[in-house]
């Protein structure tokens, strides 16, 4: 959902003037967005360590109920916010995209934690997707590993600011011919087929990390195996397969 600026047509000075005489003027957009923003139901979707911080955010101390988001709906049909909390592996990616497709419009995605944003500490592995924004559009990125519960609440407030800025006329989900069905990747022989959805994410032009480090996990880096033979050489029985 793009960030569309919504300048309400009433000029603020006139509105403050009228509120002094107890006449409250508002716009339909304000009420519509206020309703959606204050009761945004997340989907119960914890993947890894960030899910524990999400539960801690829903618990007593950092209460997510104060933002109206404490009702974690189990099924995607009744949720309108998907907090991707944790590492999205290649084996789990088709499920995440299918769940996102099953959610009802208007739906939002928060990528919580370094793993959901960019693959995080495990980005170089063979089984970790380098960020969930390769297949589905993400509204708010929350870095951190794991982000503290307050950071999740701050991210939720950023999302609420984004919801406030939307207006009914320009709302995407009411336009005709809305194509928000993202193709679900398949599990291919070496990883996901396709590796990413070019409509949603393009690799950046200058990727210093790849240019500078190549891939941290390089092929054939170590050429000599450790020789665990005992230091004091026992009677060396003729053993063809013993290491050099």
């Amino acid at each position: 959902m793009k960030y569309t600026e919504n300048n309400s047509t009433i000029d603020p000075s006139l509105r403050d003037e009228m509120t002094k005489q107890n006449v409250f003027v508002t716009t339909l957009d304000f009420i519509y967005n206020w309703g959606r923003r204050s009761s945004i139901w997340p989907m119960q979707f914890g993947l890894a360590c960030c899910a524990i911080e999400m539960i801690a955010a829903a618990a007593a101390r950092y209460d997510i109920a104060r933002f109206g988001a404490e009702l974690f709906r189990a099924s995607p049909r009744q949720a309108d916010l998907m907090i991707v909390a944790g590492t999205v592996t290649k084996k789990m990616a088709p499920n995440v995209v299918r769940l996102f497709n099953q959610m009802a419009e208007p739906k939002y995605v928060i990528a919580m934690g370094a793993c959901a944003v960019s693959g995080g500490p495990f980005a170089d592995g063979y089984n970790v997707l380098r960020g969930i924004d390769r297949f589905i559009p993400v509204d708010v990125y929350i870095p951190g590993c794991p982000p503290r519960p307050e950071v999740l609440l701050h991210g939720l407030m950023q999302l609420q600011k984004k919801i406030d800025s939307q207006s009914i006329q320009k709302a995407e989900w009411y336009q005709k011919g809305l194509k928000r069905e993202f193709p679900i990747p398949e599990l291919g022989p070496h990883g996901l087929v396709p590796k990413f959805n070019p409509e949603v994410w393009q690799p950046p032009e200058t990727d210093n990390r790849a240019k500078h480090y190549g891939h941290v996990i390089r092929i054939g880096k170590k050429t000599k195996a450790p020789n665990l033979e005992p230091a004091v050489s026992a009677p060396p029985s003729p053993n063809p397969s013993a290491g050099a």
């Binding site: 960030y3 007593a60 101390r61 950092y62 209460d63 104060r66 370094a114 944003v117 960019s118 693959g119 995080g120 500490p121 980005a123 170089d124 960020g131 924004d133 993400v138 509204d139 708010v140 990125y141 929350i142 870095p143 951190g144 590993c145 982000p147 503290r148 307050e150 950071v151 609440l153 701050h154 991210g155 407030m157 950023q158 984004k162 950046p204 210093n208 990390r209 500078h212 480090y213 941290v216």
Partner: protein, 195 residues
């Protein structure tokens, strides 16, 4: 081990549930009268009231400069870059026009979207120039703003004192001691050279 209702363990059938409800009732009443750490309401009203800020808390690294942002403490030695387990630091040493390397980074960017807040860079930096910050409100709408260039990473030494007073004091003491030792050594060398 309490087992399936050994007769003495539970006076009558519903007693266990009632005593449980008693506990929840006590907590419900306590939450109005008791202080937060002894049974009261422990909720932190996040935007207005923030949780206690611990000295050792580590969120994301930042660079320290003494007087002006043009002269950071960092000498672009690249040790933090090698020690970072996630490889999210990228350092390029500055060169003047004659190609002689200056002891200053031309490019120093940290990828906040990859960083795992482990604090190894702070431990290994021999020049006390990179430290872990406490600021955590950096959620953003697009991913490219999370790749922080040097201009955004540099923060003043007194910000470092404000955020982490004890550690900042210790590092300043260490730096002052090193400078005095160097000054004494050069003075001693001059005096030796002078004779």
């Amino acid at each position: 081990m309490k087992h399936f209702f050994k007769k003495g363990s539970v006076p009558f059938w519903g007693f266990g549930i009632l005593s449980g409800l008693g506990v929840t009732l006590k907590n419900f009443i306590d939450s109005y009268f008791k202080k937060p750490d002894s049974g009261g309401v422990t909720t932190i009203q996040y935007p207005e009231e923030k949780s206690a800020d611990f000295e050792a808390a580590r969120n994301f690294p930042f660079l320290v400069y003494d007087e002006t942002p043009e002269k950071p403490r960092c000498v672009a030695c690249g040790i933090c870059e090698r020690e970072c387990p996630v490889k999210c630091i990228h350092v390029v040493m500055a060169k003047d026009e004659a190609g002689k390397p200056l002891r200053k980074p031309a490019v120093f960017d940290i990828d906040y979207e990859l960083c795992m807040n482990c604090g190894n860079c702070e431990e290994v930096c021999p020049f006390h120039s990179i430290f872990m910050d406490h600021d955590y409100e950096i959620a953003s709408y697009d991913r490219s703003s999370l790749l922080r260039p040097m201009s955004k990473l540099l923060k003043s030494n007194d910000y470092f004192h404000k955020v982490r007073p004890v550690d900042a004091g210790k590092t300043d003491a260490v730096i002052r001691a090193a400078q005095e030792k160097k000054a004494a050594a050069t003075k001693q060398k001059d005096s030796a050279g002078g004779q």
